[in-house]
């Protein structure tokens, strides 16, 4: 209600006073966080329907349709297999490099596509925002749901690659579920964050691809994590090992594969993943909520 108090006017307080006396609420008032969360929850069906609509709209113009969700990660893995497995034929000190590489590529790709789609989630739907009333956080969140769907397809492909490349199926594989759940929440926070950031500072969208590329090189996607510990030390190593995506990728590799060298003990990785998820998930949500009333302005 802080905004209501700010509404001083030159034409005298009588109109504002009249409005207050009759219990009218200010148009465009920012709802409190719990109120907003409840409102958002009541729009869960819209969020799901919007995510479905996005998928069918983007795949509707293709003939193969849903098959592309599996085909895309397969082709992705195929490209990396040809380059690293056949052409360069490198192992980089990892026993099962192709599986190692694909885990990195797919897990990083999950966050990358969420960020890319998140930057458009407000700006591409401005007409809808200006026409209809719904909690704006629905848009970045449905975009995350779309990417979760794509991620599930690529995880199926990843599991197939890991099994074919000779890894045993163990109970540790169950750790995949909490790791992906944490990453999904982390991604949702990130999507909310970039959605507001880019809707205010549109120039940033041009920088996002470069930021993501730097982030990828810092996440040990294309080479083993030992690459960093061999070259860096002190605060530089600490900074790179605190990288949330490096942590998520390591957790997935650790759960799916045997004989993996981790940068830190698994327990420590889990704690850090949890902290990152809470900080980015909550932080992104609160940051987005603070801007709720300005998205219609464009």
């Amino acid at each position: 209600m802080a905004q209501t108090a700010l509404a001083e006017s030159d034409t005298g307080p009588s109109l504002t006073e009249l409005a207050r006396r009759h219990g009218l609420s200010k148009a465009g008032r920012l709802p409190s966080l719990p109120e907003y969360t409840r409102h958002l929850w009541s729009y869960r069906h819209f969020i799901a329907a919007f995510a479905n609509a996005k998928v069918s709209a983007s795949l509707g113009s293709t003939r193969l349709g849903v098959i592309w969700q599996v085909l895309t990660p397969l082709i992705n893995a195929g490209v990396y297999y040809v380059i690293f497995g056949v052409l360069i034929n490198t192992k980089q000190g990892v026993d099962n490099f192709i599986a190692y590489l694909c885990a990195g590529v797919f897990i990083f790709g999950f966050t990358q596509s969420v960020v890319q789609a998140g930057t458009h989630s407000i700006t591409a739907n401005l007409a809808m925002i200006r026409a209809l009333h719904f909690p704006r956080a629905s848009l970045p969140i449905s975009i995350c749901l779309v990417e979760v769907r794509n991620m599930v397809a690529s995880i199926v492909v990843l599991i197939a690659i890991v099994l074919v490349s000779g890894e045993p199926l163990t109970l540790e594989w169950l750790l995949l579920l909490p790791a992906l759940l944490l990453q999904s929440i982390f991604n949702a926070g990130l999507a909310l964050f970039v959605a507001r950031l880019v809707s205010k500072a549109t120039d940033l969208r041009q920088l996002i691809p470069y930021i993501m590329r730097i982030w990828m090189y810092g996440s040990a996607v294309l080479y083993p994590v030992t690459f960093f510990s061999n070259r860096l030390s002190g605060w530089q190593l600490a900074a790179i090992e605190a990288n949330p995506l490096l942590i998520f990728i390591e957790l997935v590799r650790h759960s799916l594969m045997e004989n993996i060298e981790l940068a830190q003990p698994a327990g420590l990785l889990w704690i850090q993943a949890l902290i990152w998820t809470v900080v980015v998930g909550l932080g992104g949500y609160v940051y987005f909520w603070r801007g709720e009333k300005g998205y219609g302005r464009g």
Binding site: S9, A27, A53, G60
Partner: protein
Amino acid sequence: MADNERVPTVVADNAHIVYRIYGSVAPGTNSPLASFKRIVTGKKSNAVREVHAVKGVSFVAYKGEAIGLIGTNGSGKSTLLRAIAGLLPVERGGGIYASGQPSLLGVNAALMNDLSGEKNVELGCLAMGMSPAEVKAQAAGIIEFSGINDRGDFSSLPMKTYSSGMAARLRFSIAAAKKHDVLLIDEALATGDAKFRKRSEQRVRDLRKEAGTVFLVSHSEQSIRDTCERSIWLESGEIRADGPTADVMKEYETYVNK
């Protein structure tokens, strides 16, 4: 305000609305050198232009009123409606207050063109806050009201295959499916053929009975005269006249025909 029986539903107190538009730059101002100069001198970029669409508008709307908003193109009518609906923020210093959540019923409510009409009905209703059960109960009625199935099964085809009139009819039908406290109607009656227009005018009258207050933006003088007893004339973002429709219309006509 001695009038105690009249309950205000919408109060605008010195409301200013400013659009910020990016990327509409004059040639020469967006060259790398000019950008660099701006960064060095710290001057504000010309790439962001501000449009002061509504300039200090004040009025009180009461329960049971139907108010027509008239004015030439670009006078700020639609912008004002969006601000009442809370879709556009009002600048500091003024405010718009409303009872409940005003709903904007516009023909340009964006839907997804790649999806079928049926899917758009579902999505639009959910976006207006209906529950899935309500959507299921209303979907058939909405499609029927829109009349898009009059010439074969169009509701299962993607919306991009619709004619502009059909798409507008479907949008209106979706928006009109819900009950509203304060109803804001933007040019909705001008869409569709004569048959549909009659049907939609009837629907607006029904909605008005249920709604507290109705605002209507239209360039059709007839529909303003038919539905509104009070009119506000906006010109360049300022109120030129506010009063009984007949008086305001007379003033407006002499201004337009000048």
